[in-house]
Amino acid sequence: MLHRINDRIKGILLIEIRGSGVEKFLNLALQQEIQIKGIAWLEEDCVRASVKLSDIYRLRHIARMSHCRFHIFRRIGLPFFLNRIKKRKMLGVGAFLFCIAFYLCGNIIFSVEVKSPFAVDEQSVKKVRDLATEMNIQEGSMKWNIDADAAGKYILQKFEDVTWVSVETKGNKVVIQFVKRIAIADEDQTLAAGNIVANADGVIDAVLVMKGMPIVDEGDVVSKGDILIAGIDLDGNLVAAKGIVKAKLWYTGYGECQLQETGLRYTGMETILYNIAWQGKERLNFATRAQPSYQHFTLQQESLPLVLWRNIRLPVELIKNIYKEQQEYQIVYTEEIAWQHALADAQLEVKRNLPPQAQVSDTIIRSFGDEIIKRAQVTFEVIATIGEFKQMDANALPQIKNRWNKLYGKQPQQ
């Protein structure tokens, strides 16, 4: 490969050698270490070969000595190409200009995209674009005139609402990404007056009040929807209640396992048959194989509509029927194993229903069943947060006031 490239760079001549001593010509060339390649026989006393441009003058003497004549019929390689270019100067100029134009086109900015990973208003986008324009990032600019880092810093400096900017050049496009600062409003101010209510039934374990008045105490039994912390302060003003209420909750799960388990399971064998449906009605079976002779199986059907192009469909559709073989099985468990299975199922069911971050304080396991089936019931006593904020309901106000009165011995002002 490298030899060929080298030959092309230095130049190759294709010659035709004629004469009675062609073999002598070749042997003399060999003696003088002239490389001759691609020697092909044309006719009696005539061969065609290729030699390097630098060796052609030495061949003249060899031709004279071997009583042969040769003539060049083709010239290949860079020296001849350059020679041709010299004669056609405008071609060279054109090629040079093309290279320059190609390089310039690759360095011109054709578009500037300003975007943000979050939703932003049009004005912010416009402002970022204007600031980028001040730093020479605009359509028509040359790439070498753009300093992405400096432009990023400039935008950050001039646009205070922006917390992060990235200026990236991708080919002929500049992508500016920015993130705007989000003003976090005071949560208490935004929330309307409301209570902390129970989201589950349970027995109160701990109450931590940050705002509002507690109307439940430790040991109180509460139901879902009961108010736990009222949105009223000591002066009787309506406020957004805030606090943490933890309660004891009970979650029960059930599991069972038969000592003798029977059923069907897949063997892994399957047979696929194709049918044709014409306009969704008649089905022509063109499968070469007959329906499988499985004793137990499930049938899964898939419709493969024949789409010609885009949304143009043929009225014919291919129906793929997958027959999956099943076989009967029977497993006999010992009582201990069956109980373990039942218990594991029951525990799994409970854990699935547990609220997040719940702490399990106690576990009650009940076992029952007979000689055929083993059953397990698992009850978890957990301590979890049950308070959630709910806006003040006008109907609930009398109830709050009564409870408040009982606890604090006076009527709220409002």
Binding site: V22, L30, W41, A49
Partner: protein
């Protein structure tokens, strides 16, 4: 023991390449379309269906169809085409 036999024995004992020490040709045939001959001593005749080249022990004849000498160097010869027959010179062992 002649010099030639001694050389041959030594080449065999020392496991050295014979074609270098004994100056004999080495032919490498790839399929029936590519033949590389090393250590040749020149071409005797060349035609499309027959190439004869010289060797230390006589003339080697290559017969076939559309035979082309793709490379001709002082020590190496590459032949391409449909090689049908290779006739080697009688050589004493």
């Amino acid at each position: 023991m002649g010099v030639k036999k001694f050389k041959k024995t030594m080449t065999s004992v020392l496991e050295m390449p014979e074609e270098i020490i004994l100056d004999v040709m080495r032919l490498t045939l790839v399929g029936n379309g590519n033949l590389v001959i090393e250590n040749h001593k020149g071409i005797c005749s060349y035609a499309e269906d027959k190439i004869v080249f010289r060797n230390n022990h006589g003339d080697v004849q290559i017969e076939g169809k559309h035979l082309v000498l793709t490379q001709l160097q002082s020590d190496e010869l590459h032949i391409e085409g449909m090689i049908e027959k290779i006739l080697l010179p009688q050589q004493e062992r």
